[in-house]
């Protein structure tokens, strides 16, 4: 009904391609270095802040040990979390969609069909450029929550995926079946008769208001 050759055979779920069987590709090891560099920078900043406070604040100087250990624990946790976050990250490009998995205490997997992609971008950070890595950004019409940002891809690979995705998007030919579909479902008495007099099209006169 919606398509000219519309079929509606029962589909057996076993024969559908299975998302759960996909093996994810991991992000290259260098990406972890970038994350560590960022963490180290944060550590330095926090450490300097603590130093400043110990210089100027009597009370904090007295509690130096407590603050120091809290900071140490926090940094340790940060690095540990980063490592877990890195290990969880993975992506997979299938024939018709792209998958990205990430998360620290949870595992979040997002699947975006190619024919829903609005545009693709490549982002290179300062540290990423040193390692020749870049972030692949995939945008859909579903708002920011469904946009994919796959970090730490080797630049060439990111470019390759991008080209592939763009090819996939442009090769799709859309039909506009909505009108035929609508007319069939309108109750007959509501359909105005089509053989009415034709009117001059409006495009010719530039209407000024």
């Amino acid at each position: 009904m919606r398509q000219e050759h519309f079929t509606n055979e029962p589909i057996s779920f076993e024969h559908l391609p299975q998302v759960e069987a996909v093996s994810f590709q991991t992000i290259p090891k260098q990406y972890l270095n970038i994350v560590y560099i960022n963490n180290a920078l944060l550590t330095v900043i926090l450490g300097m802040l603590l130093m400043l406070f110990t210089f100027f604040n009597e009370w904090i100087r007295a509690q130096m040990l407590v603050f120091g250990s809290v900071l140490f624990l926090f940094i340790g946790l940060l690095f540990w979390m980063s490592f877990i976050g890195y290990r969880k990250k993975g992506y997979a490009v299938r024939e018709k969609d792209i998958l990205f998995r990430h998360g620290i205490i949870s595992t979040t997997t997002t699947i975006i069909p190619f024919n829903r992609i609005q545009h693709v971008a490549i982002h290179e950070g300062f540290f990423s450029r040193m390692y020749d890595l870049s972030e692949l950004q995939i945008y859909t019409a579903g708002g920011s929550s469904s946009d994919l940002h796959i970090p730490g891809l080797p630049k060439e690979e990111a470019e390759q995926i991008k080209t592939y995705l763009l090819n996939q998007i442009s090769s799709q030919t859309f039909k506009t079946p909505e009108i035929e579909f609508m007319e069939e479902s309108i109750p007959e008495e509501l359909v105005p008769d089509e053989s009415s007099t034709t009117q001059e099209a409006a495009s010719t006169d530039d209407e000024t208001v």
Partner: protein, 478 residues
Amino acid sequence: MDTLQDIVRNLFLPLAVVLYRLDGSKMVWVVVGVLLLLVLIGFIAYLKYIHFTFYLDQEKQEFVIQKGVITKNKITIQLDKIQQVNINQSLIQKLVGVYSVDIDTAGSNKKEVSIRAVDNALALHLKQQLLSNEKTMLSTTITEEEAVKPFLNIRLSTLFKVGITSNYGRSIALILGFIGSLYGSFQEVTQTIEVDEEQVTGIVNQGINYFSFSFFLLLILVLVLLINLVRTLVKYYGYQMTFQKGAIAIQHGLFAKKNTLLKPLKVQLTIVRQNFFQRKLRLFDVHLKQAAATNEVEEEGKKSSEIEIPGCQPDEKEIILRQLGLSNEPVLKTFLPNYRYLIKAILLGIILPVIITLLVALYIYSPLHAYLPWLGLYVAFVMIIVYFRFKNYRLLVNNDLIMIKKNAWDVQFQLLEAYKIQGITTQQYFWHQSADLVHLTFHTAAGDVGFHFANYSELKPWINYWLYLAERSQQNWM
């Protein structure tokens, strides 16, 4: 017109203050100034008017608008990207006998193009031309429109019922906002006019003392009902829904007539709502959501691309859904949430607030002791809500539809055609791994729709199936 409104709105308050402060001798200058301003406004408006043109490019299927006096603006909209055309008439416009036409496209949450002051015939003509992107459709005449019988007419009595049974939350928010702004402007006034503040506050305090608390509550209740009623009647008076050549036309409004035309294909998400009272009255509240730049489906406020059908009977609801292309095939599978849903809800809704209140009462703020018995009431209330939320929460699926039922009071069904999803996200916390649970999110162009605490193994084949539907489909999703 627009310019005038803007400027008047911006200048009104300072002007009023200036007028108040000034003595009579300088009055002449004020009058002269205002007159000059009026002339200037008229001149700018005229310039804007003669530089505003629009036309329809039949060959390229584009609608082109040119505007701007100093900086020229040319807006081109492809016809098939238009998702909604609104024809509105405000009170002032009604007096002059013109309409404004708003054209809504996806991708932006504000109205992209608005044409003010079009006469009736042109407005209807524009509406028809803009929404019929098949060339053959352009040949129909406007007069046919009157011949089409509206299939849904919401009667006054129905509107009355809707008014007193729904949207309590919104009205309460409205009242709170009103009181807030009233208080704010009251303070502003006292500050600018330098009224003896203590005197006024004294009067107000006395006033509050006269009303007892319960009477105040009753007043609020009556006010809520009244505001609801008036709001519903004014907004939806004469609600009519018609099918015209593959599009749904809606018109309503008592003072400001609103006239909307939309293509069913552009509807991304349909929400059917019914609260307890409405169930007894057999009324439904249907919302149609179109592609918008917002994330959260339930986000109120940004309503530019949302259409509400207040109060329709069950059979009318069925017709609307069928018209939108939502199949009414039987449900093939029902997913229920795991009991952990209850654990989370009770933890966050009862245990955590109770512990915090107790801690505060015991260690920080002892006068709170007197109110502790109320905590029992709170717990009972939240328990009931949580229970009903859990009972109602479910995901229903059939061959091409995804339905999520949720909420305790305003029970709603979120209906979504599976092929229109933009993507699927599954989220699994590591402590849910052994229980085989997952949080599922459907990304749609109208926002995210989620179902939490679902059984992952049972869901997997359906995720594959939905992806298959989206990836196979050659149809436009909008």
